[in-house]
């Protein structure tokens, strides 16, 4: 670690030098131009000649004069300032000047050497660094009220791959799609690269001067008129920095705005306990879990850990007894308006409108004897009864979770229910909030807007947020920043924006400071349970970027304090008694500040459910519009991330666009349909009706997508799309749901169905899997716990595996695979379709992004895809029940990488032997032998092979060259590729094992998908080793092969889904 910091120091020093150079004006160049006209010092020449001995050759008198200017000219092709000039965009005038200068110099320096730049070899190789071997550093990715602990792989100083940190409580070694893809944000070529003022490039020094000048005036007014707008702050150091500012300028105010974080969580806690508290769940302790519109397995603070804990209780006769806490398989009920990752894993799923969820919670509270009452329709009531009974049966081991987007009342009710059930302290506990200062975001932003309108704001610092795009549309945030032409003034004198991209907000701001990526600067962050991690940089900033803390520090009397010092000092102050150096190193090494997690807090419930005012009546005829963060690009911050844009959304499998998600019945009423064009077809392109949505006095035009399992009358408008200034990848994709989102209906708005009007047009959506029926084939084996107990072999009951003796090649011995026999087992019971593996694979294996048009042609390149199937069977004959196949289907996910068949159909047909079997049973691809006949793909029954139909890789953009994994070939056009079981990782481990002459131990090789998986659904290992995890899984009766009747004998096998439905609801 020390080496890295010295490296960064060195790099930043170099940058500062360059910045100084930048500061010089162009006339200095002109001075250089005229240097040949300086009078020649003949006396000096003579002295020079006399001082030399032996034969001397001299080219000109100037040389002899040893004029330093001439020496410089001689040794450099360009004069000193010119190279740095090219760094920035050069306008026409400067370009012409430089051209003239170059011409003038051509005669003198035409044969000159390249500019002198110092390359320094490792005279002494840094500790632990071996060229060609990656190093891993612990860091963390701050995300909302959470930080995901990471280990980042670094190749010769450039981070290439993100993994989870096993020591970190929120990660436990896994990651999610956002964390995996955040590496691409670092290398995003569209990032803002420097400080600008009104669009003109400035130096950091100039910004510092300006900030200091502002600080002087602000100090005079005690900060009157200074406002700071940030997102959520879970970084203690940044919070301390803001506090310093607020102390320095007592009149200043700090506002926070997060478009995708619900206020209900905090407000509900306040309602229930009288103060803001943070709730931490322990799903592994729960026998029965009820989620009220909470996607706690797929998003929100701690979801990676929750998914792991939940999956521990879903693994049957699992290999590692340690990993299973004994007891029964838990049961999950999910009530939600729109299908989520969590809802798809549920044993019982009940679609209800968001507004009805509050009624449901009230009814549940009433059933549990907490008072109050609410009437539910009979079908729901039956369901509710069963859930209440189940919860009461397990009481202390039951858990109710409320969704982030649900209002405070639901959260308060859930707190009361959990308290009544007695799970507090067992299945959940309370701590102090993770946020440095919890606020109601929308009220905070409203206050800021009111202040601006009242002309109380002179200086506004917008740090890391994009309010012009994300603020509720009734705030009209643009008008706060834009020049007010009517009054001929600007409402705010100085607006300073810090963001990673020059986005929608930046263009209205006076100063824009490019923000560093979290892998570029020192920081710290709190995880969902309060654990503090130090965010270590992996690389010096690629551009002239700065952290928000540095920008804030510019307004203090200590503008020069580095992030590194700030983080260290804060940590030192927080832990004064220890040997700090040792502590610091340990912290950096482990990625976690030891025992920094919040202790569970005792809170007393100050809420009586009966005291709630009567719920708002909502008519069933009205449509309910829900605003939800997009599962792939979140609130829009990942809009320019190609990996996430092309990632099929977990449930809809849409890429590159958002769509207004409509329930099947509502779509029928509104006469909305899909059609499948021939180009792309089910695997690529779906035409959907375009609708105009008139909501809250504004209109948005969206493509409608019919989503099975969504509650009737619900329309979901995913946030984050329709950006106007996101960069090359993210601009103008999808529709902007923020345009119809207002502050008093942030998460749900109701409106009559006339708000939706069909335009009569169709819009092509890129959907990677439209067909969701298994057509009676056993692609996915599913059963209930009861069935499983009766017949553990149910998954293989109907498999018609051909006997091996039937082979035509009789007498020929089967290849023995005596050494290692790589295999993968995927537990479908654990997989919740979260997509982390897809991005992990993309990052590990240099998989290109192909763009919407190519996805629509069915040419996406993901090596692992997650298929989603609906179980189409009606369990009851009651037509009003919720089990109709479209309105509430059971949802299943199945990750499909290459099956690595032992008897691979692809290998037989390749004319050039480009795909062949290895002695360890891998189905290897030799890219430079492949001529691209695509016969192998035709013959692959799983269709897991991916072809480079065009040159999909970006070979030019220098940033992407830094991103790539040097251990994996970058494929060009015309070759086939597919999952290799991360053969580079296998080889690395094998080399090490062979050096030590010992067998490869189980778990030493971890494939990228396996490593990223939050639920440990994917297990890779040696099937020959009976003690390996994979061998144990393969020995399970639940284990089955996909399309085994084809005799392909896959090495990848699946463990059947076993759900644990409530028998009471089953019987009904």
């Amino acid at each position: 670690m020390l080496d890295l910091s010295s490296l960064t120091d060195c790099m930043s020093a170099q940058r500062q030098e360059e910045q100084k150079d930048d500061g010089r004006a162009l006339d200095e160049h002109l001075e250089d131009l005229s240097l040949t006209q300086r009078p020649l010092d003949l006396a000096a020449v003579r002295a020079q000649l006399q001082s030399k001995t032996g034969k001397q050759y001299w080219r000109s008198l100037e040389e002899l004069a040893d004029d330093p200017n001439f020496q410089e000219l001689l040794h450099k092709e360009f004069p000193r300032q010119a190279p740095s000039e090219w760094d920035e965009s050069v306008d026409r005038r400067d370009f012409l000047k430089l051209m003239a200068a170059s011409l003038a110099f051509a005669g003198l320096s035409g044969c000159g050497r390249a500019p002198e730049q110092h390359i320094i070899p490792y005279v002494k190789q840094p500790d632990g660094m071996i060229l060609g071997k990656p190093q891993f550093y612990a860091t963390a990715m701050p995300f909302g009220a959470d930080a995901i602990g990471l280990l980042v792989e670094s190749h010769e100083g450039r981070p290439t791959k993100i993994e989870g940190n096993p020591d970190h409580p929120s990660s436990l070694g896994a990651t999610n799609a956002f964390a995996q893809a955040s590496i691409l944000n670092l290398y995003d070529p569209d990032r803002a690269q420097t400080v600008t003022k009104a669009g003109e490039i400035q130096t950091w020094a100039q910004f510092l001067d300006a900030a200091q000048a502002l600080a002087v005036t602000l100090r005079a007014t005690r900060g009157e008129g200074l406002r700071i707008l940030t997102g959520i702050v879970a970084s203690p150091t940044l919070a301390a920095q803001i506090q310093t500012i607020l102390t320095l300028y007592p009149q200043a105010k700090w506002h926070q705005w997060e478009p995708a974080l619900g206020d209900g969580v905090l407000e509900g806690a306040k309602l229930a306990f009288g103060s803001y508290v943070n709730t931490v769940y322990r799903p592994e302790m729960a026998e029965v879990i009820l989620s009220l519109d909470s996607d706690f397995l797929g998003s929100g603070p701690g979801h990676i850990r929750y998914a792991r804990e939940f999956s521990r209780r879903r693994k049957l006769d699992q290999f590692a007894e340690l990993d299973r806490l004994g007891g029964e398989m838990s049961r999950l009920y999910v009530v939600e308006p729109t299908p989520s990752v969590t809802g798809s894993s549920a044993d019982h799923h009940l679609p209800l409108r968001a507004s009805e969820i509050e009624l449901f919670a009230r009814a549940l509270a009433a059933k549990l004897g907490l008072g109050g009452s609410a009437a539910m329709p009979p079908a729901v009531d039956k369901w509710l009864d069963a859930v209440a009974k189940d919860l009461q049966q397990y009481r202390r081991n039951s858990l109710v979770v409320a969704g982030e987007q649900q209002p405070a009342e639901v959260h308060a009710l859930v707190h009361a229910i959990n308290a009544a059930l007695g799970g507090v302290g067992i299945t959940l506990y309370y701590t102090e909030p993770v946020e440095a200062r919890p606020v109601n975001y929308v009220e905070s932003l409203r206050e800021l807007c009111t202040d601006i309108d009242a002309s109380k704001v002179d200086t506004l610092l917008i740090l890391g947020v994009n309010p012009v795009y994300t603020a509720p549309h009734d705030f009209d945030f643009v008008s706060k920043l834009r020049f007010d032409e009517r009054n001929n003034r600007k409402k705010i004198q100085t607006v300073i924006h810090v963001s990673s991209h020059f986005d929608e907000t930046s263009q209205y701001c006076d100063w824009h400071v490019a923000e560093s990526h979290y892998l570029e600067n020192w920081s710290d962050a709190r995880a969902f349970d309060g654990t503090v991690s130090v965010v270590q940089p992996l690389i010096a900033p690629l551009y002239r970027t700065h952290s928000t803390r540095e920008v804030l520090a510019a307004f203090t009397d200590k503008p020069g304090v580095s992030d590194y010092d700030a983080v260290r000092d804060r940590l030192k102050a927080a832990s004064p008694s220890v040997d700090f150096e040792k502590f610091w190193r340990k912290t950096l090494n482990e990625g976690v500040v030891a025992s920094s997690a919040f202790a569970p807090m005792n809170v007393s419930l100050k809420f009586i459910p009966a005291s709630l005012p009567a719920a708002k009546e909502s008519s069933a005829d009205e449509l309910e519009f829900l605003f939800r963060p997009d599962p792939c690009i979140y609130d829009g911050r990942f809009a320019n991330n190609g990996w996430l844009q092309e990632l099929p959304k977990p449930v809809t499998k849409l890429t590159w666009d958002n769509a207004a998600l409509v329930s099947p019945k509502t779509a029928e009423k509104l006469n909305l349909t899909h059609s499948i064009p021939s180009r792309g077809g089910e695997h690529g392109q779906i035409l959907s009706n375009v609708i105009d949505i008139w909501l809250s006095g504004s209109k948005v035009t969206a493509a409608a997508w019919i989503l099975p399992g969504q509650a009737e009358g619900v329309v979901v408008l995913p946030l984050g799309y329709g950006r106007k200034n996101a960069g090359y990848t993210g601009t103008n994709k999808g529709f902007n749901a923020y345009a119809v989102r207002v502050s008093n209906a942030l998460w749900a708005a109701t409106a009559p169905s006339t708000t939706i009007r069909k335009t009569g047009n169709d819009y092509p959506l890129a959907c990677t899997q439209y067909h969701f029926n298994m057509e009676g084939r056993q692609i996915l084996a599913t059963g209930t716990l009861e069935e499983y107990r009766k017949n553990p072999n149910f998954a293989n009951e109907h498999a018609e595996l051909p006997p091996k003796e039937l082979s035509l090649y009789t007498g020929e011995a089967e290849f023995p695979y005596t050494r290692d026999k790589w295999a993968m087992a995927i537990d479908l019971n654990s997989c919740n379709g979260c997509n982390a593996c897809v991005i992990a694979c993309q990052a590990e294996n240099n998989i290109p992004v192909v763009g919407k048009d190519q996805v629509m042609r069915g040419r996406e390149m993901h090596w692992i895809r997650i298929d989603r199937y609906y179980k189409a069977e009606s369990k009851t004959n009651d037509p009003s029940s919720y089990d109709a196949s479209l309105d509430n289907p059971e949802t299943f996910f199945q990750p499909v990488p290459c099956q690595q068949c032992e008897n691979a159909p692809c290998e037989q047909v390749c004319p050039v032997g480009a795909t062949a079997h290895s002695a360890e049973g891998l189905n290897d691809m030799t890219y430079n032998r492949c001529i691209g006949t695509r016969y192998c793909s035709n013959n692959c029954p799983y269709k897991v092979r991916r072809f480079n139909f065009l040159r999909f890789q970006d070979w030019e953009t220098p940033q992407f060259k830094l991103l790539r994994n040097p251990e994996v070939t970058v494929r060009s056009r015309g070759v086939m590729e597919k999952c290799t079981y991360c053969v580079q990782r296998i080889t690395n481990v094998r080399i090490e094992a062979e050096k030590k002459n010992e067998p490869i131990r189980d778990g030493a090789i971890v494939t990228a998908c396996e490593q990223a998986c939050p639920t440990q659904a994917i297990v890779f290992g040696n099937a020959n080793d009976p003690s390996s995890r994979v061998a144990k899984l393969r020995a399970q009766q639940r284990n089955y092969t996909l399309l085994g009747e084809l005799n392909s004998r896959p090495r990848t096998t699946y463990l059947a889904v076993v759900r644990n439905p409530n028998p009471e609801l089953e019987k009904a």
């Binding site: 180009r679 077809g681 067909h771 016969y935």
Partner: protein, 461 residues
Amino acid sequence: MSVGQPPSDSPEIRQLTPVLGPGHTFRSVTDKISAIVLTRPTSLGWFIGFAISFSLTGLLTVAIGWLFTKGVGIWGINIPIGWGFAIVNFVWWIGIGHAGTLISAILFLLNQKWRTSINRFAEAMTLFAVACAGIFPLIHTGRPWMAYYMFPYPSTMGIWPQFRSPLIWDVFAVSTYGTVSLMFWFVGLLPDLATLRDRAIQKPAKIIYGMLAMGWRGSARHWHRYQSAYLLLAGLATPLVLSVHSVISLDFSVSIVPGWHTTIFPPYFVAGAIYSGFAMVISIAIPLRKAYGLEDYITMRHLDNMAKVMLATGLIVAYGYFFEFFLSIYSGNKFDVFLVQQRLHGPYAPFYYSLIICNILTPQLLWSYKMRHNVVVLFIMSIIVNTGMWLERFVIVVISLTRDFDPSAWGRYQPTFWDWATFIGTIGMFVMLIFLFVRVLPAISIAEMRELVAETSEEKE
């Protein structure tokens, strides 16, 4: 000569036209056929036809140029449909190429005299069809500049092609077929080239034909050698007629894709190939005899016989369709049963029904003597059959791929502009080569026609 003659008491025999019009002598035959090449002025129609087909060939070059620049992604193929127009067209063209060798070799061995006037251009057509077909396997690869990996050349890396792959068998089958067809055609041309050399007036023509004639003097020894060589080549070419399309059908039946994996494919493909080949010969013969007044040489008898062959092979193909259908259902294999349902009810059902109409229903008209003797009907029908055979390949290649084993990977296929450009471009190239051929080489074998004159006059005597 009584071989091939129907019983003399048949009522139809009286109407049956001879294989050569009446009143022809050695001189008239030679004059008439060589004049097309040597003395008759090139008609405006020829120039127009050539210009159109030449421009289409230009389109082909552009399409291939763009393909090499961008990659096969300019076509409509995707995952799961890895093979599209390129393979459909390849199989179609190779199929068309079958008639030539069949006529030249098998009918020659069976001593069918009526083959004489059509064998030359049928062979030429074969060559051109094989040339068109040969383009596709090369350009459909992702990296055509590496396509030589498919040949067993002595690589310094010591790597051989993968001989278990049917694509390698294709390489050998098609290249052998192309070579033998070319040799057969060229050997057959030798006496005629000599005739042209002797009759040519212009010096360059004399030199070129002279060189191509390879010193043919027409001596008895020449004739003796020529005939044994021709017979040998015919013997060599005969198994190829059956092997080439069988091997190509193995591209499909060796795979495991439902709709491809069928043992009936080899004979069914060969019958289909002959079917489409004869259709193409008819499509060429009819305009050719009309344009150059060759009704005496390519008589109604020829057309009638070819129509009968078409009918017969068409029935075999129909049988093939039926059994493909039956075996899929009978096997009880869920994937095969599903495929049949897809063909009948799936998104591509119209293609399947059009194929049935084109290939099974339409040719039933040929049972009628009247229809077989109606030149216009025959011409239209030959075009319909060729369309039908193209559809058949489309149904087999593309539709089978759209919905195979894993429902999550199902997709659809739509050809792009470049798919069409390449396809139409090869048709243009084929027609252009035919135009060049009739202009510079005798479209009907002079030597064999003279033999026929001799034989028919013998018969009369």
